[in-house]
Symmetry: C3
């Protein structure tokens, strides 16, 4: 397993004390903070029985758990299996893809429960959590999984944990600005999750630019079965995206509508992705990279507007456009970003999350600006945009303006935060691999002996076999 | 990658302009038709707030979304992961299996929303869609996925899209005849989905008969890991089938009962499949083909009767029989169909869907004919069979007769429709591959270089390596 | 495929008549017993309509189906995909892992419906089943899947069926003693499922000790892609465990709370597993075996207490400890158990289920003993522990004592039952393989020719190729 390395490039990737230290200390910190701050929301607390009577609730069925738990589980699958397996497409980085995604997400949801809790669920000194908080924590971590896609294969697990710590923090701040200060709607997170997460990740990978990355070029591709593993991730993301976009919408028609809009957008997106994947390749063959990724752009792009009266055909149009934009991005933009802007984007998150996220923010702004009492009904109109209290006098066009402002804020937060975090990750203490060892599980994982060496010799027939 | 081909057999499989053209034009057509016709059902519309008050509904929880959305998501997984991965068993057609299934299903659900909408949800010029429509669209596409199983590996993506267009149309007509004209019960689709879909697909593959298919015999088998990928499909179909058969049943006890009956039938089916798989093989070894497919026959065969008072032991009996019939089918009928009737059935849908579908129709007819007020209760009896309005006077035995008529109609529609569509697909313009290139992803997909050539040379050691 | 075997070790693994006979006879027995005993519960029966009116239920939504069906489906996935794929990590036993798990679980759920039904749902001569019974049957089979993990690769399918028959029976007896006689709470089954299942399996594998097992040492490892298949199992178990621990809790806040506690415990467990996996390996690399298994220990260990007021930080602490205990177990205890105690534990269930199960029982006892009306509320306190009827006067500390007694009873049942069943399985009639053929699908399965022989020769370059 141990192979000679270029003297000059040798880097210390030894994790034995660093990784355990970070994991254990941070988890102890979580326990302390949870102990001080986190309690059950009334609906998850045994006291609920009495509160329920006061609230005149007729049934346990009214517990938010039954409105949201199935959607929560779908979102949970998207974060861990969806993102995890989507990134297993690399021939020799499957362990890192699914394993590091597991690690960062497991840490991230705890930290997100705290950060989001302080901003949104803080009552008399305690954070009260219920199923909606679990969904929001998963959402927040989703933005970290997106950023992970840009730096996949090039960072150590410690770097990923550090990035998660900062990104979750910044996510919560950005989300607070958007939802609470700007009073913006973004139930499916086109802006808060996708735009923010993607441009954050792209900025980080720009700062971590590796000029010699072509040294591991042979490992940046897929093999036949790794592409099939990745399709597991793709399909679970695609199938459950209607749950993602509807998970925290208002009970009833809003959840219902958000699921339908997302279903439509995703369906249209598949057809234009296939069309352009074939059209942009000389031999007219389909490219698995596009099918694995661009088919999902339609879900990203209705994240803001799915719970609004976007209508099924409006959703089809958005999906139609995003399949094209995303596929074109893989063919033309990704190589351009790498060669000209020095942005090495392993999974092409620019095409799957950044551009569709921006489109999603814009579509949301337009849909909000175009809202009328005629379409939403008098009550529905107020409910859909929460035009109550201090926002009672806000008009749809003003709301559209604030939605647009939300995009700008998310972008700024992403660039500034990504620059800061990128700079921190550049410190030479985190144990990242040399360029020639990127995209290689062997650095951080025990890899089964025979398979590994078999594969190694197949791909490097000129190198001598290890004993 | 480019290998010399037999001169005489050379076929033009170039997709570059044909596939994009079909995908884009058809998707534009979808957008136009959705724009003209499709709107949200009241329960998904923001206006709902006001209607709800009129209907005296006590809670958002009464929204059909909460009755059906978890089942919808399970059905969705069956269509995309279940059928998609079930067909990845072929050693070199995994991309086509999961990718083309993705394509045809994504198009099919849109077209199904329209076709089924015109027949069933058309009100004052608009199709009003809600979660039940999404389930029905997935169901309709399920019948196309079944037919795809018969022609897997032998058709171009354009042929699959053309087949989808026609089959969805015919499905909707057949469904209308059964459910509305004959007033037949078929919540899990033994007749409308399985019998129709399977005999349709078998007719198509009969017409597309390829006399030289043994030229790609070496690619018709599985490899070790492709069989494991296929088991992902199998297990998701098996586990979620109770959701499939109960997804559109009446709220309450009917959904509950349908899930239990299906659970029981499927459990019994696994044991008889294992028994006969071992028994029918000389060395007594189990065959993955049987485990992957015949274990599911029990779900197909209670599709009609699961929501009726079939009872758990009745379900066990149906599952018991179908495991046997299906496994015997794989061992004896499939070779017979190919050699004598020239029906080349790649996945053996005759054993998994056609025969069990017929059994399901018959079991449904018998169960309906045997219904009594004693068993169902006075109200339950009327509710279970919708014996209201013009059907107020229909007796169980008459219902049984109509159920049987439903089987015949489905068969006729399948044969006629399959013949028509088969003839269309035989036109030499759709870009299907030559017999020697069937079951080969390389024709329509970019396949990773090294793995592909490695595998190629392993399997064809006498051919020279590509440079 | 047929290779010469050591003369002295030759064993008859021919299944052709034995396996079908067992499967068919037992399934016929199930049908007869279901016919005599099993009927629908009122909520799944068509008669329900009338009963509902009597019970003054306002809506179909009150049907238990809607409270529990989504959780049921998650549990179902855990049993069939979770356990099935978790065990596919072996390089040449994937078919056996997923296929035999499928077989034993499909039989087990039927037998469990009967056994648990006689104890818990027996009314006027009939077992009345609904969705909660399906969940409990899956739970019961879960304990068999756990035991299967200890003997994976070393037993014939008939042995597995025999073990299932006995273990389900003993499970039901143990569960009856705990839940009904001791009035113990154990909604997530730390004691009934994990402690019982694991120590049962460990006792069985001790009795089936194979001194020459190192003859198949080369097959006891994984290959790169088999480790990825196993991660599918891991992630589904991890993601759906909150559903597992909350599936049969009381409606409302108890289900809600159980899900949150489990979510927290599992998240913490991932971090300590990663930390210790890296720390305990000289090179500091992560070991897939730990990630695949020890990350789940946190779910096991809150099985009893998740529905109690364990609180989120309490859950984090439990998860923190169990990730460490379990990982340390894989590194130090498993080799010790094998070399000193002759316990050959293929999947390391001692680390994933036995120790965390014990911890779970103890945590449950402490949490129950520490309960106060102050924390639970007056009503919530009585409801949480069912302190009604004859148990009206039971105090929390007495309840804690009974909980502890439940652990002891489960252990005794496991040791006694495991010894009995181990002795039965030792009879030389069940067709298990010789030591040299363990962990080898080829014995009981048709394995695809080329892949199998390719792999075989790669791993055994000194043996001559089969023709």
């Amino acid at each position: 397993m141990e192979r000679p390395r270029h003297q000059g490039m040798a880097k210390n990737t030894y994790m034995r004390w660093r990784l355990p230290l970070v994991c254990l200390l941070w988890e102890v910190a979580m326990i302390v903070l949870f102990g001080v701050f986190v309690r059950f929301s009334p609906e998850a607390d045994a006291h609920w029985e009495e509160e329920k009577r006061e609230m005149n609730l007729t049934s346990d069925m009214e517990n938010d758990f039954y409105f949201r738990y199935p959607s929560f589980q779908d979102v949970h699958v998207m974060i861990f299996v969806g993102f995890g397996f989507l990134m297993t497409f690399l021939k020799r980085y499957g362990f890192g893809a699914v394993g590091f995604n597991f690690l960062l997400a497991a840490f991230g949801i705890q930290w997100a429960l705290l950060m989001q809790g302080w901003f949104h669920s803080f009552k008399s000194g305690k954070i009260l959590i219920g199923v909606e908080n679990l969904i929001n924590a998963d959402f927040c971590v989703g933005s970290v999984c997106i950023a992970f896609g840009a730096i996949l294969g090039k960072t150590s697990p410690i770097q990923l944990l550090v990035m998660t710590l900062f990104q979750v923090t910044l996510f919560a701040v950005n989300e607070y600005i958007l939802l609470n200060l700007l009073h913006v709607k973004d139930a499916g997170g086109s802006m808060t999750i996708h735009t923010f997460g993607a441009y954050f990740g792209l900025t980080v990978t720009r700062i971590l630019y590796r000029p010699n990355l072509e040294q591991s070029k042979d490992k940046q591709g897929s093999v036949y079965h790794s592409d099939l593993f990745a399709m597991i991730g793709t399909l679970y993301l695609w199938m459950y995206w209607p749950s993602f976009n509807s998970a925290i919408s208002d009970h009833g028609d809003a959840q219902h509508r958000a699921a339908i809009n997302t279903y439509c957008s995703l369906a249209a997106c598949v057809l234009t992705t296939m069309a352009f994947s074939s059209m942009l390749q000389k031999k007219g063959k389909l490219d698995m990279v596009h099918i694995q990724n661009a088919t999902l752009a339609g879900g990203v792009a209705v994240g803001t507007s799915a719970e609004m009266m976007l209508t099924p055909y409006g959703s089809l149009i958005v999906g139609f456009i995003c399949g094209i934009v995303s596929t074109v991005g893989y063919v033309y933009f990704t190589p351009f970003l790498e060669s000209r802007l020095h942005i090495q984007d392993t999974c092409g998150i620019h095409n799957l999350h950044a551009m569709p996220g921006l489109i999603g923010g814009i579509v949301g702004a337009i849909t909000a600006a175009a809202a009328t009492e005629d379409v939403y009904g008098k009550e529905g109109f107020i409910k859909a945009f929460d035009f109550t209290g201090v926002y009672q006098t806000r008009t749809p066009s003003v709301q559209g303006g604030f939605q647009a402002a939300g995009i700008v804020v998310s972008l700024l937060m992403a660039f500034a935060g990504g620059a800061l975090v990128g700079a921190i990750l550049k410190l030479p203490v985190w144990g990242d691999a040399a360029a020639e060892n990127c995209f290689e599980d062997d650095i951080y994982w025990e890899v089964p002996e025979d398979e590994e060496s078999d594969a190694y010799h197949m791909h490097n027939p000129d190198k001598p076999a290890s004993p």
